[in-house]
């Protein structure tokens, strides 16, 4: 992207001369944004749209704090007649499965991101270097997977019959570990941000390629690596698909998949907790919808809290890291 932009700028005719030398006028003209009524309309429209994007999450939070009896009588309301924190205290009582799923998601996300970033960075760095004789072959190998894939079924069969990943934590980590698209982004990043002369001088000083990679290249490419790590973290955190394919055991169910399972059956939560003598009365008191929405809130909260901080890097990563070089 950046390169394209540079091209466009270069092709442009110089700015008109009368404006050029008149600083005061130029300043006024630079302020060419909307003002008055049109500005107000655009702002109202955009504010409305932004609210539309955020509203459902607020709505779910409200429902999670609504008394279950009120929900039965009035449905999901914006301002419920009776507030309640019962859904959360219920989840607290049933926390065994919830904590287990949280742990699985955290382990998968951390381990997966580490494996993913290291594997992708090494591959991308190697194919970005001219000294690597087979770089074209390996680039093609990665690129081709973007164009053609075997589909879900053969992948499922390979993963279950050959690699025996079914009901293992690796089923949640490995299938998402490498992604040719991220490799291409990283390769571009290495080409742009790691100058060959620098590496050359390190080689002359006797540094090995591994040392160069970890001590010079990695720190230099840190912004790109952070972008990939961010993509990867979000990918693992939000993944439910691989759990849907490969995980049956409650101990291995990640957060998003737990959310899916309680969609029809909130009792899934009690699978780990259920004591034999539980009374029917207690089961009837389950805050069904409120508890489900509370689960949505609890599982989305980390992203919502971290979001204002990471979104800037996400946007940068998207707009700076054009794929092509």
């Amino acid at each position: 992207m950046a390169k394209r932009k540079a091209d466009i700028v270069e092709q442009q005719p110089p700015a008109l001369s009368p404006v050029k030398n008149n600083k005061k006028k130029r300043k006024r003209l630079n302020n060419d944004k909307l003002s008055g009524i049109p500005n107000l309309i655009v702002n109202i429209f955009m504010a409305g749209f932004t609210l539309l994007c955020l509203f459902p999450f607020l709505y779910v939070i409200i429902i999670s704090f609504t008394d279950e009896q009120t929900l039965t009588e009035n449905g999901f309301q914006l301002i419920p007649e009776e507030w309640s924190t019962f859904a959360y205290s219920y989840l607290w009582d049933m926390k065994a499965q919830l904590i287990q799923s949280y742990m699985i998601t955290i382990i998968v996300t951390v381990l997966g991101t580490l494996i993913s970033v290291l594997t992708i960075a090494l591959f991308a760095y190697a194919i970005s270097r001219k000294q690597f004789r087979y770089r074209k072959l390996f680039t093609f190998m990665a690129l081709f997977t973007l164009l053609f894939n075997g589909g879900m079924v053969p992948l499922y069969i390979v993963a279950t019959q050959l690699l025996h990943l079914k009901n293992t934590i690796w089923a949640l980590i490995l299938p998402l570990a490498v992604n040719a698209f991220y490799i291409l982004i990283m390769r571009t990043f290495f080409m742009r941000s790691v100058p060959e002369p620098l590496l050359e001088s390190a080689r002359i000083d006797g540094a090995g390629e591994w040392r160069i990679f970890f001590q010079i290249v990695f720190p230099l490419a840190l912004p790109g690596i952070a972008t990939i790590a961010l993509f990867s973290t979000l990918g693992y955190w939000n993944d439910w698909f691989h759990a849907l394919l490969f995980i049956d055991e409650p101990q291995l169910v990640p957060l998003q998949s737990l959310l899916m399972k309680i969609e029809n059956n909130i009792e899934f939560l009690t699978q780990n907790t259920l004591v034999s003598g539980q009374s029917a009365e207690m089961l009837a008191a389950i805050p069904k919808d409120a508890a489900k929405m509370a689960m949505v809130v609890i599982s989305t909260l980390p992203i919502a809290v971290a979001y204002p901080f990471f979104q800037r890097f996400f946007i940068q990563g998207l707009t700076v890291g054009g794929v092509k070089e």
Binding site: I8, F45, M46, N149, M152, L155, P175, I183, F314, L318
Partner: protein, 308 residues
């Protein structure tokens, strides 16, 4: 012997690409080879993966014949193509409009807030989004039915009535994706040289004229390239949207079943392994041809933007 020496000389680099290469072989290339079971009648046997694939009997194109003789093939192809087409066209219009509006807002801080808010849905999983949709569409508790009743209408059983789902799915998809889609256009508009606008203003061009004659022509190459690349992907749909948001509701299959969900259900619910593989291979092959074709067109228009 020469090639052995070359490999030895490149051993550091080869070691670096090794982990990802192993991954590609296991998770991309073996499954690609595994598509042969689309031409076989797949049976599991005790000898594991290779032995199962080898020992299953050949049936030629039988699976494909069966697939294309069923009404399913038409429905899933129609749904996949039409939904994606609508997503591409409407998504493009809204993304570009929003990008232009945001770039016209004088208050940079407000513009930033809008952009941040719009991008938020992108970071939610489809499972969470399906709960969001449920809060509106739940038959007895949802906001939409409450509103309908308040206005004196009859409540609608949303999850059983296929009539509305093309709109619901389109709306949900746009809600989740347009914020993300507009980012790249915003970046492109910010990159346009301001002196164009200055010159236009001296000549007395109105804001709308500036947008029509400067902004849009300047981002046109980007619009074309991104749209063509999207068309290359038109045979692949977002599994989460079509699987999670309608809550896997049977009565809706007619308008919510796309190739991806069809393959999944064939594999997990029906156990029709070879048939599902055939459907997946059909998707991959057509997708492959489409990507090659669109890339060829992109190359003709703008060499730099082509994928390869």
């Amino acid at each position: 012997m020469n090639w052995l020496r070359n490999i030895w000389k490149n051993r550091v680099w080869l070691l670096m690409v090794l982990p990802a290469t192993v991954w590609f072989v296991l998770f991309s290339y073996l499954p690609m080879a595994g598509t042969v079971i689309a031409f076989k009648n797949f049976r599991y046997d005790a000898g594991g993966f290779f032995s199962s694939v080898m020992s299953s009997e050949w049936v030629g194109l039988e699976n494909f014949e069966f697939l294309f003789n069923s009404s399913d093939a038409f429905i899933i192809t129609r749904n996949t193509l039409l939904y994606n087409l609508v997503f591409i066209v409407v998504g493009l219009i809204i993304s570009v409009t929003i990008a232009i509006l945001i770039s016209e807002i004088a208050n940079k801080r407000l513009a930033k807030i809008y952009q941040t808010g719009m991008l938020f849905p992108h970071f939610l999983s489809w499972v969470v989004v399906s709960y969001f949709v449920f809060t509106f569409l739940s038959a007895d508790r949802g906001m939409v039915n409450s509103l309908i009743e308040w206005l004196g209408g009859d409540p609608i059983s949303w999850y059983n009535d296929p009539e509305y789902w093309p709109y619901i799915l389109t709306f949900t998809n746009l809600w989740k994706t347009v914020g993300y889609g507009s980012i790249i256009y915003i970046a492109a508009i910010v990159g346009i040289d301001r002196s164009y606008y200055e010159a236009a203003m001296i000549d007395g061009a109105s804001k709308l004229q500036q947008i029509k004659n400067i902004t849009i022509p300047m981002i046109k190459p980007l619009i074309i390239v991104l749209t063509i690349l999207n068309i290359g992907n038109i045979f692949n749909s977002d599994f989460g949207l079509f699987f999670q948001v309608p809550r896997d509701s049977g009565p809706l299959y007619d308008v919510t079943n796309v190739i991806d969900t069809y393959v999944y259900r064939g594999l997990m619910n029906l156990g029709e392994i070879s048939m599902s593989t055939a459907a997946g291979l059909y998707q991959s092959l057509v997708g492959f041809i489409l990507v090659l074709a669109t890339n060829y067109v992109v190359r003709k228009i703008d060499k730099d933007s082509a994928l390869f």
